[in-house]
């Protein structure tokens, strides 16, 4: 086959590359630089280059990073966000796996329909779906009413569900579930049924067929789905804003506050930079694990 001329490579790859540079790489760099700058007199950023006693000089500082470690509040928020994202990922995996398996094993003509049902929630707006959860988890809802009268009946205190960490995790799981189902389905659907026949033929019961054959071969999907759930869940802010109340605040909320309410852009950038770094580390670890599982 003749080599394609190199311009066609650029024609195809150029526009997305350009897009990523302009809307991802450059903003990330701006954010990184901002994390070393001072706050301006009315918030935002102080000028990057200032005229000092010795002429023009860069006005940079490490104080913003020092502040991150000075107050344990921020590290605790990072930790809490990590725990929420982790629990969300684990719950999504637990719920998505049987679902993906069900879809992958159903008759071919139903699979598209079932997949459509999995992504159906995307057809309505994210905020509207979260508002729906406010109603479902709110004190007036039939569900919570029934739960509390049940608790009362067995002699326990009624509970509040909305504006708690519980509500945040419920919302996170609800929003992210499809991102776990789809990659899991993709790997499970490819699984050769002859392998399961072989395992059974050679003496494996249902438990062993799952743990020795199905699960190890689905690991690429498990890793991909976990990354797709964990990373966005880690930095999310709108959902804990609406469902979390004060007890359910995550690091994303603080970042939003720094930029919009406190107008402390440098410190907001510090938190964002650390969040991005953690996400990159996790994505890297997942990619490494996935490569190892394929080898």
């Amino acid at each position: 086959m003749p080599m394609r001329p190199s311009w066609s490579k650029w024609l195809i790859g150029g526009p997305p590359l350009f897009y990523l540079i302009v809307f991802f790489a450059i903003p990330t760099l701006i954010m990184l630089v901002a994390s070393f700058r001072h706050v301006g007199p009315w918030g935002g950023l102080a000028p990057l280059i200032e005229q000092g006693a010795t002429g023009w000089q860069l006005d940079l500082t490490l104080d913003n990073y020092a502040r991150l470690f000075a107050d344990s509040l921020y590290l605790r928020l990072f930790f809490r966000s990590f725990v929420y994202a982790f629990v969300t990922t684990a719950l999504c995996l637990l719920m998505a796996y049987p679902l993906a398996m069900l879809v992958a094993r159903s008759a071919r003509r139903y699979r598209d329909l079932l997949l459509l049902l999995v992504i159906l929630p995307f057809w309505s707006n994210f905020l509207i779906r979260i508002y729906a959860w406010i109603i479902i988890l709110g004190p007036q809802s039939v569900f919570v009413g029934a739960l509390n009268s049940g608790l009362e009946w067995i002699g326990l205190e009624p509970v509040r569900l909305l504006y708690t960490p519980f509500a945040v995790v419920v919302g996170l799981v609800y929003v992210h579930l499809p991102f776990m189902v789809l990659p899991l389905y993709a790997t499970l659907e490819k699984l050769d049924p002859a392998l399961l026949d072989a395992a059974q033929d050679l003496g494996a019961n249902a438990w062993h067929r799952f743990w020795k054959v199905i699960f190890p071969l689905s690991l690429p999907g498990v890793y991909a789905g976990s990354a797709l759930v964990f990373i966005p869940a880690f930095g999310i802010f709108a959902l804990p804003d609406l469902l979390g109340g004060t007890g359910g605040t995550m690091i994303g909320n603080v970042i939003k506050q720094q930029f919009l309410d406190s107008r402390d852009w440098p410190f907001g950038s510090v938190l964002s930079a650390v969040l991005t770094l953690v996400a990159i580390i996790i994505a890297g670890a997942v990619a490494l694990a996935a490569r190892r599982s394929r080898a």
Binding site: L195, A198, D201
Partner: protein, 361 residues
């Protein structure tokens, strides 16, 4: 007592009978082949024996024990799948060890037995490789080693050579026979390739449309096909329509359409006359410019229509004066350097009266 008894096994899919009233008895230590064209039900029958499929009626009795309701993992029967179905995420050694691990054999013992199994299939030192790093022939051997390591009573092989090239196939066939004789495990082998079946088997069951047409040793199947289908399916065969006239105990007369009157051995059936076909192997048909006119020969003159040069042999297609066509096969070492008959040549074809078999409809 037979190791495996199939008694009136029928498996329906809707109105379609994939396996239709099959009764077979397979002896311990036998290399038994189910042979038939695709869709004849041989794979379904194999799946019924393995336990992946259940007979609608009839029973499967293994070593005196009825297998109904017994799951595949609980049957002392292992399968070599057509695709081999090696676990891609496990090394060769882990693949082979799988049945032992499932049977909770102690780890130290597993290691020794895997080593031994690798040696048996000439893969010593390959234990740490992954299936994706092996050639087709090596994968096939891993699949056989894995299926045999826990010494099942019965090994089922579903077209295990279909994915191999012709040269390799021949070598693997010899390996399979030797391995089977060495370990003495009963093999049931499924194939649509008649030459494979003839080469490997102690006995062959020829299947068609879910039914068993004939069960016999390879030489009996080839030499004495019971009906038109078996004659046609196994090897090449001239099938000449005609009518058997009355005759004596040992010799009958028949009239073949478009050929003429012939002498034929008595078909060994109660029917004295009737319509049917003469099954005549091409290698039993002599061809020459002239042939000695002996009383036991059927001779017809004709003209060469076509020839297929196959290296070791040449197949001539001859049209006799009545208009019928016959295939004659001539080994090339006999025809000398270059004395091939050419299309258009006048020749005589003939066969001994007992070379063909008359099969009633």
């Amino acid at each position: 007592m037979a190791l495996l008894e199939l008694r009136n096994v029928t498996r329906r899919f809707g109105d379609f009978r994939a396996v239709d009233d099959v009764t077979l008895s397979i002896e311990s230590g036998e290399f038994f082949t189910l042979l038939g064209p695709s869709g004849c039900g041989k794979t379904t029958l194999l799946r019924v024996v393995a336990g992946f499929d259940t007979a609608d009626t009839g029973s499967v009795v293994l070593d005196g024990r009825d297998m109904s309701g017994i799951a595949p993992e609980a049957r002392d029967v292992h399968t070599v799948f057509q695709s081999y179905a090696l676990f891609p995420h496990m090394s060769v050694a882990d693949n082979i060890a799988f049945p032992l691990r499932m049977a909770k054999v102690p780890a130290a013992q597993i290691r020794d037995r895997v080593e031994e199994a690798l040696e048996d299939v000439h893969l010593t030192g390959m234990g740490q490789r992954f299936p994706s790093e092996l050639s087709g022939g090596q994968r096939q051997r891993v699949a056989v080693a894995r299926a045999l390591i826990s010494r099942p009573k019965l090994l089922l092989l579903d077209e295990p050579l279909a994915a191999l090239d012709a040269k390799l196939k021949e070598r693997v066939q010899l390996e399979l026979i030797n391995l089977q004789k060495e370990i003495g495990i009963t093999f049931i082998y499924v194939t649509h390739d008649q030459s494979e079946a003839l080469a490997l088997s102690d006995r062959i069951a020829v299947m068609k449309d879910g039914r068993v047409e004939q069960v016999d040793e390879p030489s009996r199947i080839y030499g004495f096909p019971k009906n038109r289908f078996v004659a046609d399916f196994i090897g090449h065969c001239n099938l000449l329509e005609g009518r058997l006239q009355a005759g004596t105990e040992s010799l009958c007369e028949a009239v073949l359409d478009k050929v003429g009157a012939i002498k034929v051995a008595h078909p060994d059936k109660g029917v004295a006359t009737g319509h049917g076909v003469l099954a005549l192997r091409p290698e039993n048909v002599a061809i020459g410019r002239t042939l000695p006119d002996e009383p036991e020969m059927n001779l017809f003159s004709g003209r060469v229509q076509d020839l297929l040069y196959l290296g070791d042999v040449t197949v001539y297609i001859v049209e006799v004066e009545g208009g019928g066509r016959l295939e004659a096969l001539l080994p090339n070492h006999r025809s000398g350097q270059a004395t091939f008959y050419q299309p258009g040549d006048e020749v005589t074809v003939g066969w001994r009266f007992d070379a063909g078999h008359f099969l009633f409809d």
